[in-house]
Each structure stands twice: as C-alpha cells, then as structure tokens.
Amino acid sequence: MCAAFHRARKRPSPGDLVADLLLSGGRFLTSAEVSDDHRAAFHRGGREGDSFYRDRWSHDKVVPSTHGVNCTGSCRWNVYVKDGIITWETQDVDYPSTGPDRPEYEPRGCPRGASFSWYTYSPLRVRYPYARGVLVEMYREARRVHDDPVAAWRSVVDDPLKRRAYQRARGKGGLVRVSWDEAVEMVAAAHVHTIKHHGPDRIAGFSPIPAMSMVSHAVGSRFMALIGAPMLSFYDWYADLPPASPQVFGDQTDVPESADWWDAAYLMLWGSNVPVTRTPDAHFMTEARYRGQKVVVCSPDYSDATKFADEWLAPHPGTDAALAIAMGHVVLREFFVDAATPSFADYARRFTDLPFLVALEERDGGWAPGKFLTAADLGETGPGAEWKTVLLDDRGRPVTPNGSLGFRWADEPGRWNLDLDGVTPTLSLHPGSHESVEVLLPRFDAPDGSGAAVVRGVPVRRVAGRTVTTVHDLLLAQYGVARPGLPGRWPAGYDDEDEPGTPAWAQRLTGVPADRIARIAREFADTAIRSGGRCMIVMGAGTNHWFHSDLVYRSFLTLLLLTGCQGRNGGGWAHYVGQEKVRPLTGWSTLAGALDWHRPPRQMIGTAYWYTHTDQWRYDRLTAGALTWPGSKGRLADRTVADCLSQSARLGWMPSYPTFDRNPLDLVDEAEAAGADPVEHVVAGVRSGEVGFACEDPDAPGNWPRVLTVWRANLLGSSAKGNEYFLRHLLGADGNPRAAETPAHERPRAVRWRQDAPEGKLDLLLALDFRMTSTTLFADVTLPAATWYEKHDLSSTDMHPFVHSFNAAVDPPWQARTDFDAFHAIAAKLSELAVTHLGVRRDLVATAMQHDTPGETAQPGGVVRDWRDGECDPVPGRTFPVLTVVERDYTAIAAKLAALGPLVDELGVTAKGWTARVAPEVAWLAESNGVVASGPAAGRPSLDTDRKAADAVLALSGTTNGRVADEGFRWLEERVGKPLRPLVEHDRAHRVTFADTRSRPASVVTSPEWSGDESGGRRYSPFTINVERFKPWHTLTGRQHFFLDHDWVAEIGEQLPVYRPPLDLHRLFGEPRLGPNGPEVTVRYLTPHSKWSIHSEYQDNPIMQTLSRGGPAFWVSPADAAAIGVSDNDWVEAVNRNGVVVGRAIVSHRMPTGTVFLYHAQERTVNVPKSETTGKRGGIHNSLTRLQIKPTHLIGGYAQLSFALNYYGPTGNQRDEVTVLRRRGQEVRY
C-alpha cells in the first residue's frame, strides 16, 4: 500500500489530512471513458454524491480508552468524538512491539467492545439517581418528623411493616428520580445507622476484578475498609479461581501472556473456547500453527476453537480429569518407568514434591498415605522443624533440603531456595527398596461418584521409626502404573478398562478412544523433550467451573509437571478465567485496603457469605460425608457444609462476617467497661459461650447483613448462583426457589436452625451503574455511573504485559458521576453524620490466618484441632481467628479517603510476603499530587482525583516502578540467599506515570509481585524466576505439589489427583435421571461464556442481540430437540429444583446429546416472557443453579492452604447442574 498509508498510522495531523485529501482529490479530475464492449463506464468528476461518507467519517477528536468488563481483554480503543458526542470506537494499533519475529498485539478488541458506544446515549442508560418510590415516600415522610437523617432512616427500617413493604416492592418497577443530595443522604444515613446499631461488619461491598478499572474499584473498597466493612471476594465466588493453583503452586493464579502461546510447540485448548472467550488473543494460536504448533482441542461440543484443532477430543462433560489421568498414566509408564527421561526426572527432583517422603499410616490392618515427613520427625527441634520436609539422597540418607516453608519464616535467612547443594534426591524407592506394603487408595469412578478403595503396593523404607515412601511412588500407585514385584491390584495393560488410570478406563468414562488418548499423551511428552518443555495447556471455565475443578486442574498440572513444562516460555498452564491480574498489585492493594491508614481490612470469602446470607444452606443436603471414601477416619462424617463453615471460622481458617453475634464496636466498649483487654475479653466470652459466632446463628436478625453496595458489577443478573434464593431471602423480593428445606434429621448440628427462614435481610441495596440491570432493578437506590469513556482509570490483564488507561472522551452526561466522585460524596456525608452518631470508636476486627505471612505456619501437619472439642485452647492466630483492635474516627472517613495515610511511611508496602520501603515514592506523590492543607490528613499526599489515585497505584508498585521492584527483590534476596536483583538491574529507573498510560500502553517490568522474568522484552511466562533463579514456590515444600496432606484432604481422598465425576444430582438431591421422559428431557445444564456478551454486559445491546438470536436461548442437540418435539427457535422452558428459565431453542448438531448450553448471563431484562410454570418472569441462567461448597476449600492456617483474598476460599461452581427441558406454549406473554 502507499507510503502515505503507513505514515498515517500515527494519527495524522490535520495538515497531513488536508494534504492527502488534496492529493487524492486531484486524481479524480480526469476525463470520462466507456469500455469498448460498452460493458462498463468509467465516470469522472462529479463526486459530490460521495461527500456523505466523508462527512460521516469526520470527527473532532480521538481519545484512547478501554472497557472494564472482566473479559481479560484490556484492549486499547480509540473513541471518536464529534460535536461533543461519542460516535463510535475502533481499536488502537499502537502497542509496544513483541519483537521483529513474532505477531504483535494489535489490534486488540472484539465485537462486544466495538458495540460499547451504543450505551452512552441509549434508552438503557441510568441518567439520574433513582430510588424505589415506596421507600422514598417513607423516607421523606420520616424526614418531616426527624430532622436527623439517621433517625429518619432508622424509623423506616425499624418499622417491620414499612421495611417489609419496600422490600416486597424490590424488582417490580416503581423507580423514581431523586436528587444526588437526597440519594447520598439516604445512603450515608443507612451506613451510619448500621455501624452504630449493628456493627460495621454488617455492611459489605461487592465490586469485582480490580484490574478492569483499578481506581474505581479501589475508591469504594477503600471506603469500606475505612469504615470497617468487609469487601467480598469475587474470584473464588465466580468459580474463576482455580483452587488447584494455590494447592499446587501456592499462588493465586499466574499465567503466560498470550504472546507466549506463540512459543508453544504443542497447544492443548482444554475447556477454553479461545476464539469466543479470548477473542483478541486467539490470533496468536492461529498464527503459531503456521510455525508448526500442533493444536488439540478438548471440548464436549464442536466449539469455535475446534475449527482450528488438528485433533478434537470430545469427552463427556465433566470427565476431563479421567482423560488427563489416563494421559498421565501413559507418560509415567513410557517416560518414567519403562524408560527414564533424564530431563523429566531432573525437573521432578528439583521443582516438584515428587521426591519427598510421606509417612504411611496404618488403616484397618493396611496402610494409607499420611503426612509429609518433616525434620521434626527426624528429631530436629530447631525453628520451623515441623515445616521442613524431608527426602532421601541417592544413597538413601534422609536430607532436609533448603526451600521448604520452615526456611521461609524461621529466623534463618538465605536458605529459602531450591538449591539442592549437590544432593540428588531419590524419586522412587523402587527397585532399591526390598520392602513394599499395600496402601489403600481412593477411587470415585462409580457413576454416582461414591467413594471406594483400591489396594496397590508401594516400595517403603523405615525412616525415624516411620514407614515412608515417596510422593512419586504414591503417584505411580494412584495412577495405576504397575512395577515388578509390587503387591496389589494393577491394570493388566492400557486396555484394562476396570482399573483406574488406564486409557481404556478413561475411554469408558469419557467416550474418547483409548488409542487416541495414548497417542496424544505420547506426542505431548515427546514434544516436551524435543522442544525443551514447550507444551502448553490453555484451560478455562469449561473445566474450571466444576465442583471438583481442583482435581481436574491438578490432573492437567500433573501432565505439565511430569514433562517439565512449567516455568518455561511456551510451556505450562495457561488458565484464563477472569481478569484477575492487577499488574501494579502492591499499589492497588495498599489503596484498596486503606492499608495506609488502618490494618487489617475485613475481607470475606464471597461464596460463604452468599451461601449463608441467602439461606442456601437451609436447602443444602450435601454433607461432607458424602465426599469421603473407605480410607477416611470419619472426621467429616455427617457434617453439613454449614457445620464445616462454622468450624473453619472458629479455627481462624477462613474469615467470617459478620463475625460475632454483636456489634464489634460494642465488644470493645464492653471490654473497656469491664477493664479487660478486648482480645482476651472476647476469647473468654467465646469460650464461655457468652459471645457467639454469627455464622452459627445466621438467621438471627442481629446477624443479618444490612447494607450492601454493588458497583462495577451485576450481582443479580450475572454471578448470583442460586439467584432465586438471593431474591427471596436476602432481598425479600419475589423469588421462586422450588426446593424444599432440608429435613430435620439432616440439618447442621453446629448452626442454629430457626423455624422460619428470614425473607428480606438487607435494609439497603445500593447499586452504581450506567445501565439498567437486574441489580439496578432490585436495588433500593441506584446512582448513575460514568461509563468507561467518561472517566480516568487504569487497566491491566493476564493476557498482555501492559498497563494502560481509561480516559474521559466526554464528561459524564446527564447526572452521571464517576465511582470515584460518588464514593467521595457518600464519604463526605457519612463523615458529617458521624459527628453526632459515631465519633471515634474502636473496632474488634477478626481475620483469618493469612497466606504469605507467618500465620500460614499456625497448624503444623495440617492436623485439625478444635478448641471447642477440647483438643486445644482458643489462641488467636493459632487455633482461633486473629483479633485486632482498630481505632476508627468516623468523622474523618472522607479526609482519609482523599489522602495517602502515614502507615506506608512506617510499614512500607507489602505483597506476597515481601516489603518495600517507599519514602521516595511518598515524597514524589506529595510533590506531584500536592499535600492536604488541613484536617485529619493534613500534610499527606493528596488523592482527591482519580488521576492522582492512579498515580499512587503506579508509584507504589514494582511492575510500574523499577525502584520498588528492586526494593522487593532486595528483601527477597535476604530470604532466598540467591541473586534476584539482576532481574531488574536494567529497569531500576523504569517508571510509569498515569500520563504515560494515556499516550500509549506502557510495558511493565519484572517485579517480585509476579513470578516471570520479563527482562529484555522477554514474553511473560510464570515461574521462570523459580525455575531459573531457584526461588521457591510459596508452598509447604517450596516445590510444586502433587501431594496434599491436610487432614480434610485425606478425609475426602484427594491427597493426589483422582477422577471424580460431576455431582450426581439424582443421588444427592433427587433430580430426575438424565434422558427423555415423556414430553420432557433431563439434560446436563452448562452455562459457558457467550460469544455475544461479556457476562451480562452487551447481551442487552441491540447490535449483539441482532447478531445472535434476540433473547435468551438454549443450544440443544438434534436428538434432545426431537425428543421433546422442538424445532429451531421454538420457546422452551427449563425447570429444576432451583428455578425456571424461559428461552428459545437453537437446535444444532454442534451439541452432544444430553447436554444443553444456556450461555452465561442472559438477563431477565431483555425479551424474557412469563414462565408457564410460575406465571412470573422467567429467570436468569443462575435461576437454575445453587451454591455447592467443597469443604476442602475452607481449610486454612496450613502453608499454601491458607486464606488470602481471592486466593483460597470456596468456589461458586455451577457446572454440575441438570435441568428438565420441555417445549412450552408458543404464544408468550410479557
């Protein structure tokens, strides 16, 4: 193309434009011609008719921005503005280069983002503050009586009839416009009333995914932290957290940028439909194929990704672990046992727990895997001995190698590393060991998922009086890889379909032919050898959203770790579910937690919060006992999930809010009145039973959450698993759960059952949004938010290594305000009302024992000791939650919100266990942002605008400030005893400011916030620092874990990866069996991510609706459609114990028989008719789901199995669901 073409790429100046127009215009002025055959006429001149399109293309300015929608895109868009009106958007193409020999990131985007500008002036836009008319009338009436807003609010919510009246009206229209002043006053009054009368932990904030707009998230989160309200986790709640990551890596999630797919020689897309869910990144896959990359797709349907697959494996939904275990079986058999692969064995010895010793325990006359052998078992008594794991060297001598957790927190700097100091660990005791025993190992492959045991032999030794074997030997036994001379039952060969582990066994469960399983496994391992570990598995929600996703993922990771692919460019896991990567992590977490003013903030596991407060626990008949196996000791028998939750809370494993059965402000006052230390006072009170845990009586009105604020989210139209329970119990609105409550004999023992389930716990649901969603429909007050083209903010993602910005192309129209301004307005009013009602109070904050702090070494061996059962004393921080008294000046909330507090001067900033002092950054911010002149924050750097807050986030983070990265590495070097600072030596002066992110996406630098080396423009791949610099993983052994030895993990038979089928809802909840039954068919119900929306965003957009089917639709296989007489586009109704969904059918042979898809987050707001079953509006996708909590996700206080926000906690999985589908009347009513 012309040279002008390329010049113009950098936004032409007006001068260039004119010149080009003149040049090209000149070419029009030639004479006319007709072709000889009169077939064609070439007209000249007279082009005035073309001016329409030229006019349309003209615009006044182009402003870069992005979308904050948790899509992982973080794409840079150019927003076009003409006459002060946003017209449309196209992608920016100006990304820093990936290098001369690989594809670039340009142009990032997708059709959804391309349709965003529609929202700006759409009839869906929230233009003014709205409130429920019924409530507004009551409040105004009360204000006529009470001059004080708090008293007025109280008079409404304390009146049971009034309260019930406006709660019943939720979701039924009747919104009225109110002024900002009045809305803010109501909201502030509700907060003050709740803090005063119920406690700050009865308030909560829900705003997910900080990376998708860090400042908008941080400002509200900071507000919550300052007042003492918990922020609810989201990554686990969304089921996007892969619990296998903390279990195996001791890390939340750390994955390669998409440009690193290019480096892979073998790419498996496993439950990840890349063209649909990673639209801007998919090209790296299509292009890498031309570089000889082989692409294998594992998907139960012919997904969009399958179009690119060299091979398509279509396992039955939810059986992926069986497939992966059989592949692991082949790799272990052919590349470890039959022939050793030096590179694999070397990797396993250095970087995994495979060589570590596990003591076996006697069980019913046989043996079962027990705990890791530790230095304490060898008789050592030094610091951390119980946390130092042991292996055998090649001469069979026990060795305590560096790098385990005992070296991390013990006062022994310089030994927390993976240097084996010349020791060659023994992977297997076979054949050197002459002794072997039979161990009991779990299997759950019966169709109903019930536990059974297999007996297989492992070679053993006696060490320190214990019978031990290695993790590697146990894994071979678990995976059914026979070796000569070992007792027990073993598969006869690959074609033995009865013994767990073989390809034939996997074929029986998954439907994938055994020979293909073996061939792919072989190719995978062979490519790993030939490419030096460049095999990658892109894994996604299709495999991660299951109840047993941790096992599915552990079986995938087993494949990657056995073949030495993790910690390599082009290799390893690539989990992309949720935009969880806040690259400037340290600065964001400091601001969002208000850690510059108070520590610790309250942070809550979202899933448990909703499970408890939406009363889903009252309907849950799943017991922990149902998950156990014959090798269990019975510790979990007959425990309901609610029982497990309460134990987790009282042992300090997981946070629990509201925490105690009274106001935590009052608890401190009580202690002071009694002249006691507040912490001791509470521990004594709990021990005597005088103080109770709220989670043990969640339905008591005093223990309800009262105020909930939702921003940057659509809880009720998207993520609320068990949607109907939310509506009925939390909101007191119309909800249609169809399940019966748990019968008396199956109810929790440790949780009080109140006869009547509460309906309507919340006094106030506040939503901030720019469009009408289910959440705003049900909210009591909705504040009009600025869109992503109307504010300044920051964005980052897993998928690319840049930080860039949102920018205001126009000011927020109508009465919209940024989240930043809205929270500041609320904070100001709250501070004002607090003068009368709150003043300075002291708050008793209970928190869980935290990962990446010494708290993770609270409970050695993962042995459960419950003070309530007299097994130990309640000791805060060891066997009981950590208790901290925090002083809060409620009149200073607004001042603190708008300034960087002094705690960072004193304590620095911390992430993942390292700390950096930030005096230079504080000084820079003071100079750059200015300081506060007077008041409670006098002299502190100002954070009173979104841009200043953004600069604080960037200044206080290692990825965007090389000095902070260097400080962090310096801190780590002391612990690790290996050089790490060279990683950042060329980037120490690297500094990204907000202005930089406006002009172009800014590259980040290597930082201890993450685990990949990005120096010299290298593509980001996680754990390369661990592999190349011998820095340990944040786990018990310091290595990547196959084996987990916590008591509860052993109880449910998951010490090693094992296959468990999807939950059998027939067995557990009495749902019908799968298959046709008269005019109905029972099918698996899956809710994958949609091509036409990002969660609920865009699904209401007419462009997206036009390109899809115009409303909610079920994808149905031809056979299932035929069974119920359904043609394409017929209306159908899906009904199960949780609710009802109405939609159209899309009949396609792309779907496997027995499974339907209803794409995630198709809202009740657009084209949803009344249901035939209920006569009410059909529900959303989550009307058919309900929370199921896996008890092992509640473990805490034990190495990598410890709480951190969005790091470990129960997931809100939703894949194991079934529904009845039937054709309904085709005349629908709205």
């Binding site: 193309m1 012309c2 113009a8 790429r9 032409p12 080009d20 070419r27 030639t30 000889d36 055959d37 077939r39 064609a40 006429a41 007209h43 082009r47 399109y53 349309r56 293309w57 003209s58 196209t90 992608q91 193409v93 594809p103 670039e104 142009p107 985007g109 997708c110 059709p111 391309a114 009839p123 039924k172 009747g174 649909v276 998919a282 090209h283 299509t286 292009e287 031309y290 179009k307 429909l777 209401d1100 007419p1102 462009i1103 390109l1107 899809s1108 089917r1109 115009g1110 409303g1111 031809p1118 394409d1128 586009n1129 009949v1147 042979h1149 496997p1152 028989t1153 009740r1164 657009v1166 084209n1167 949803v1168 509006r1177």
Partner: protein, 456 residues
C-alpha cells in the same frame, strides 16, 4: 494494454475466528442509522449455511451477475429491455424476510415501569413498524452452526453436493466467511443501474453509488450476485460498502481490515489490464475463470508494465505499492488466495485463502502420523471440510487450485515445525508444492508474523 490500479483485499479464512468485530465496527461507523438498520456492508457467515441474505448464492433464483449468451457477456437478469420492464416489480428482488426484520427493544420500560407485580422487561419491537415483534431470523442466524440441521440443507453449496455433506456431531465442520463488496473488475451492479448512478473509481477501482444520481430503482440490488448493495428505505437510495474510501484517502486501511482481531485481512494494490477484462470474463469454461482472472493481472515488476502504468497516470507510489502488495503475493505469487464465486463472471476483487483446519484429525483415523509432511498432503482430501465444498465456492467446482493452496499451507506448517524444534526441515515439504524454502518462509512471515506494515 491499458493499466489500471485496483485496491483489493485478501482474507485468510484459515485464521478467521468468526468474531464479527469487522461487522460491528463497520456497522457502527457506517450504517447504525435509520433506513439501513438491516444493512451489513460487512457481514460474516457460518458455512455451511444459507448466508445473508438467505441463499444469496442461488443465482437460479436471484439471477445476479453475468451470463454468457452465445459467447456474449450479458447481465443474468436479462438485457436492458427486460430490466426496464421490471423496474416497478422486480421478480428477483430479495424481500425483507430474505434479509430479516430489524428490531430493537422497549428499553425505557426498565426505568419507567410503574410499581407492578413482576420484574419489568424490554420486549422486542420492530425497527420498521415500531410494533412489538417476535424475532424469527437475523443477519447471523446460523452462527456457529445454530439451527444447521434445519437450515443448512438449504445452503446452495450443500445442495450442489447432496449427501456428501453430513450434518452430524462426529462429522461437524464449519468455517466463517466474512464478506464485503467485491469491488469487481466487471461489476454487474454498475451495469444494472438504469440511472448511471453506480460507478467504479478509475484511480482505485472502488465501486460506489453516487447518492445524488441514485433514483432508487434497486436494479443494482438484484444485479449484484453477492447481494452487497442495500436499499436505504428512508432515503430511497442504494448504499453499499465504500471500501472506506474516506479512510483510504488519508492513508488508513478499511475499518473492517484494521479492526480485524484475527489479523486475517490484507489490502493492496493490483495492476491489471483493463482491456482484457471483458475477454477474461467471457471465458466459456466456468472452471477456467479463475485462471482467466489471474491472466488479467499485470506483473508490477515488469518494466513494460511500469512504463505503461506511468503512461496511464498511475502515480509512482501506487506502482511501488503494487510491487510490495501483499495481495499480489498471495494471489499471484503463492496462489493461496482464490476468488469467491468466479462463475458469477464479475471478476471479484476480494479473495480468500481457504481454511486448512482441521487436518490431522481426519488423518489420525487412518492411523498415519499427522505431523509428517507427506501424510498432511494425503489428509487434505480427507478434510473435515470437504474439498468439493470449498471448490464450489472458490473455483466453480475445480478442486485443483484449492488443493494446491491447502497443500502449500500444510507444507509451510510442516517446514516451520522443523525450524521451530531446531530440527532439519525436509526439503521435500517445499519442493513438493512447487515452492522454494525462501518463498515458503516469506509466505510464513506474511501469514503468521503478519505485521501491520506487511498487511496493508
């Protein structure tokens, strides 16, 4: 020789992820306004499928494009007389149901609904009548095989192949076909226009409707075999893809190309001999039309061509652009790009690289190692996407050019795999497809690395 310059596009279907970003950015920029709600200058179709508008490829029905009558090229819709006779009731005019009835929703209800007994909902409303409607068809109804068991049998290409195409889970195949105006060398829309309002720009070959001269006869709509001219029911005039000339004129690629996140679109200049177009379009053998069109293109490196181009007033930078044109490389040098339905005889100028995947899957069933270059070639005849289906679209049914294009893509993969793994490439991979290693690697760079500067 009369040298003319033509802007052309190549789309690599092997990379298309079917995301429709192109459709949306185009729609937002050009047609999100009254009267053209239903018009998609750029649309994307799932194949197999009927396409948009429905069954547009069925020229028995629509009579678009050209026909040879007694060796003479005439519009398939008939001569001037027949067209005049049908001015007021054109039997070949697609009706709204062949496109779809555009709709929106009564969104205000969500905010304005009075207190009632149920959740408010925005129901669908026709964008034409403003009345409540029921959504029954759309511009992308068949996306990702949606409704295929019911609708894909009516795909004219499926009908042509009959039972060869199986619509069953295990045999599933699909690919996406993004379409814009073909900006043909021999445009039948231009020839159909009774008002002389349609024209092909002499400097770059872009086909446009002069909005001042258009009288709304709509003969262009039926005359175009690709159905890429739309009638604006508000202004009463025809509108179509403009190849984004207001952007091109200031040095920017088309919106659809620049925003294509699959990075599969290439724009470049081709020089052709305008004197040979009529003859090439009159090639009697449909299956030789592809070759005939190749024969019209001129070698921009040929000094004689360059001189003739300069004489014809083609600016120097356009000649340079033609020499560096990625489109020229893909079409004439590597021969991996093919025209869409050359049998319509319009000499279309948006060409396509056919989709290769998935290959090994089909091969694995036969027990061969799919990574082996020799086996890959064998596999092409066993593609999930039947070769004949592709040939029906790109070469009037002749499988050979499609086979060659796919074999070259396969050879490139095989060669680069060896390079990638640090192993010695088998020279047979390139020579077997008539290419040398240098061209294979240059093609790889253009298709895989595909830098912005190389795509446009």
């Amino acid at each position: 020789m009369r040298v003319m310059a033509q802007l052309a596009m190549v789309m690599n279907l092997d990379k298309c992820i079917g995301c429709h970003t192109c459709s949306v950015t185009c729609k937002q920029t050009w047609t999100n306004r009254d009267g053209v709600e239903y018009a998609w200058f750029n649309n994307v179709e799932t194949k197999p499928g009927q396409g948009y508008p429905r069954r547009y490829e069925d020229q028995e029905r629509w009579r678009g494009g050209w026909e040879l009558r007694r060796g003479k090229l005439v519009p398939a819709a008939g001569g001037r007389l027949r067209r005049l006779a049908n001015l007021f009731a054109n039997p070949e005019m697609p009706a709204l149901e062949d496109y779809y009835e555009p709709w929106t929703y009564d969104y205000r209800t969500l905010t304005d609904a009075p207190l009632g007994d149920d959740t408010p909902v925005a129901r669908p409303v026709s964008a034409i009548t403003g009345e409540p409607t029921s959504v029954r068809w759309g511009p992308n109804w068949e996306d990702s095989l949606g409704g295929a068991p019911e609708h894909a049998r009516a795909d004219p290409m499926v009908q042509r192949l009959g039972q060869e195409i199986r619509l069953e889970f295990e045999q599933s195949f699909m690919f996406y076909l993004p379409r814009i105006c073909e900006h043909c060398l021999n445009p039948s829309c231009v020839a159909s226009c009774p008002s002389g309002a349609m024209y092909k720009r002499s400097e770059d070959g872009i086909v446009l409707v002069d909005q001042d001269r258009c009288r709304g006869w709509r003969m262009c709509v039926s005359g175009c075999p690709y159905k890429k001219v739309y009638f604006n029911h508000r202004t009463g005039k025809a509108e179509k893809c403009t190849f984004c000339y207001p952007r091109l004129e200031v040095g920017l690629p088309t919106v659809c190309a620049e925003t294509c996140v699959g990075r599969l679109r290439y724009i470049g200049v081709l020089l052709y001999d305008a004197d040979r177009v009529g003859e090439a379009a009159s090639e009697p053998d449909e299956q030789r039309l592809y070759q005939a069109q190749l024969g019209v293109f001129l070698d921009p490196h040929d000094p004689e061509v360059v001189r003739a181009a300069e004489r014809a007033g083609v600016p120097h930078d356009w000649i340079t652009a033609a020499q560096r044109s990625p489109v020229h490389s893909l079409i004439t040098r590597y021969r991996v790009a093919l025209p869409l339905h050359p049998e319509y005889r319009t000499m279309p100028m948006v060409w396509y690289i056919p989709p290769l995947s998935p290959v090994v899957d089909a091969l694995a069933g036969t027990g061969f190692d799919g990574e082996e270059a020799g086996n890959l070639f064998g596999a092409i005849d066993a593609l999930r996407i039947p070769l004949d289906y592709l040939a029906g679209m790109f070469t009037a049914g002749d499988p050979e050019p499609v086979r060659l294009a796919l074999r070259r893509l396969a050879a490139m993969r095989s060669h680069m795999r060896a390079v990638n793994l640090g192993e010695t490439p088998d020279p047979a991979a390139s020579t077997g497809v008539g290419m040398d290693v240098g061209s294979l690697e240059a093609m790889y760079r253009l298709l895989a690395v595909a830098k912005y500067e190389d795509r446009y």
